[in-house]
Symmetry: C2
DNA sequence: CTGAAAGCGCTTACAG
DNA sequence: CTGAAAGCGCTTACAG
């Protein structure tokens, strides 16, 4: 009994079927009946029992997710982590009728191919990444037409229409990196921003982080020397003549690596006998953590990749079952990791 | 159909009632039947549908929590936050039959009184804090006798029996503070650990943080000057002659405030014209955040008070409904907050 | 436009 | 020791 649909029906002198129709704004209820039922719902403060609702719905309305993320063939690939979070959330929602199909891409063209394949089927929601502006706009447009919600992970870029993002604010992450490095290096040191570029070109996150880093020094009204090194990822980090000159200086150096590859730097710094350096990088991968524990990296910034995937699935579920969009946009905090607290994240 | 209790019953040639008895290890099933049913459960990989289970149980087996935490009468009292998290979790579990009664204490004697009141009733679980060793041991002992799970929030202390704690590792938090301050102050500065003591005396967390702070310098093999200031909380921070002398030195100063009251320091430092200082404190209360944004506090460490309360309720629910103890012990990460990322937590 | 009935998967009180 | 039945609160297909 308590405050269920049954009690509402009784008070309103209608059947529970009619109460359900009103609750879900389904057609086929006279205005007067609707009014009466709504009044009683309001008065009693009725709240739908989602457990009961889901039990029933799980058996008749399955929910299908399409996941389109970068290939994760390498053992330590970053994307294994969001994928893990996604899988965990799907597992938790399995008994409620949730299933996910994974699609992977390696470049813009395979992203487009896979997204086409997705739209050929009837998915209820899409989780992907906005790495290619045009193709992302296309996904968004098609999805809006079909009224399918889309959540973008990892990165935020400007798109033609309003969109949902679960990602860290990379500008702020860059500012945090600026403060951390400045605390160690001070005003008279030399700063280096290292962008390590992969096959897909320079990533929006990296640019936003670099801009945030530079913006920090503006907010504190300090003009410091900042050099940018754009390095194309290969087997080895090649050091140019210009870089050799920088390395020779006696100044304290602050290195900000804008992606997860800060672990490539210590070897080179050693090789060129570079003196007093401090370093800030991103992501708690095994190799970065090794150097953090070595004191060769001073700070790492975590962006909770696993949680990003988890939150996307759960947020979409909340939207699909309750119409609540609030969990479709998530700001991942800029978590600062040092040697001592690195074991806890 | 799918993989429900019904299918198991059919395959094992028993009724669903019997399957349920086996699943819950309830008495009244012959060995041979039990064996047969268990075999089929294993083969089919059956997993209980918790949604259906809860729907039924919510109507017949209510779950009552007793919450015993410090009084929260002051507007900005820290304990409002764990309480908020507790309330949120209880609200979420309401439709599953969960209710919580709040008890508050102001000192050891009222803690003991309230805990006695709690044991007079038939609660299913207890959430409290281990501020008083003897009284905590007493609660633990009584609860074990009645097989009621207890979760301690905020602080970990050694107790007579194994217990569940949801709290940050304060020793590690102190070490992190050591690293952060050392990065700014260096080896030649003067360090001050400020313990601000309230009516309840010095808090276990504060001692652990102080010890961690000192331990950090040992791990990096540096001997630095560290003074401890134990200050009893009153309307105003009284400065002794000894402290005045410290303040007069030209050295860079690093101040580590081991509780949430770092906001009391900037005024005094200004008053005594203390030069170059850096400060690390705890907790994101309004006043601390103001000084963080002012650059008068450099780092704050967050211990996710709201989440601690939330996690206790959810963890206990998982234990009470699934017998899973894994969520009863939670290590809250040492979150490092600076001006730039302070808005995101 | 509205109601009565079946059923989601599980749990338990009752009967044998 | 075991089974048949009722019911948790909600949703929907069917009948009128």
């Amino acid at each position: 009994m308590s405050t269920g649909i049954k009690q509402i029906a009784k008070l309103a002198n209608v059947s529970i079927g009619t109460v359900d129709r009103v609750l879900h704004k389904r057609a086929g209820v006279s205005k007067s009946t609707e009014k009466r039922v709504l009044k009683i719902i309001k008065e009693t403060g009725y709240i739908r029992n989602t457990t009961a609702s889901r039990l029933k719905l799980a058996s008749i309305k399955k929910i299908y997710y399409a996941i389109l993320i970068p290939v994760t063939k390498h053992k330590w690939n970053y994307w294994k982590l969001p994928k893990k979070g996604i899988t965990k959330a799907v597992e938790e929602l399995k008994e409620l009728g949730v299933t996910a199909d994974f699609y992977e891409f390696s470049d813009a063209s395979s992203f487009i191919d896979q997204s086409k394949a997705i739209f050929k089927k009837a998915y209820d929601a899409i989780v992907t990444v906005p790495f290619f502006r045009e193709a992302s706009n296309d996904v968004l447009k098609k999805a809006k037409a079909k009224k399918i919600p889309v959540v973008f992970l990892d990165t935020e870029i400007a798109l033609n229409e309003a969109a949902h993002f679960i990602r860290q604010n990379s500008h702020i992450a860059g500012m945090v990196a600026g403060r951390l490095l400045h605390g160690l290096v001070g005003n008279t040191g030399d700063y280096f921003v290292v962008n390590i570029i992969n096959e897909k070109g320079i990533h929006a996150n990296n640019i936003q982080r670099e801009n945030g880093f530079k913006a920090y020094f503006k907010t504190i009204n300090e003009t410091v020397s900042i050099q940018t090194i754009n390095y194309i990822l290969n087997d080895e980090f090649k050091v140019t003549g210009e870089m050799e000159n920088w390395f020779k200086s006696d100044n304290t150096k602050g290195i900000f690596v804008t992606n997860s590859k800060s672990h490539l730097l210590p070897k080179i710094l050693q090789q060129y006998n570079v003196g007093k350096t401090f370093m800030v990088g991103f992501d708690l991968n095994k190799r970065n953590l090794k150097f953090l524990k070595n004191d060769e990296i001073d700070f790492l910034i975590n962006q909770q990749p696993e949680y990003q995937g988890y939150a996307a699935i759960k947020g979409l579920f909340q939207f699909l079952t309750k119409g609540d969009t609030s969990a479709l946009t998530v700001n991942i905090p800029v978590e600062i990791i040092v040697k001592e607290n690195s074991g806890m994240f």
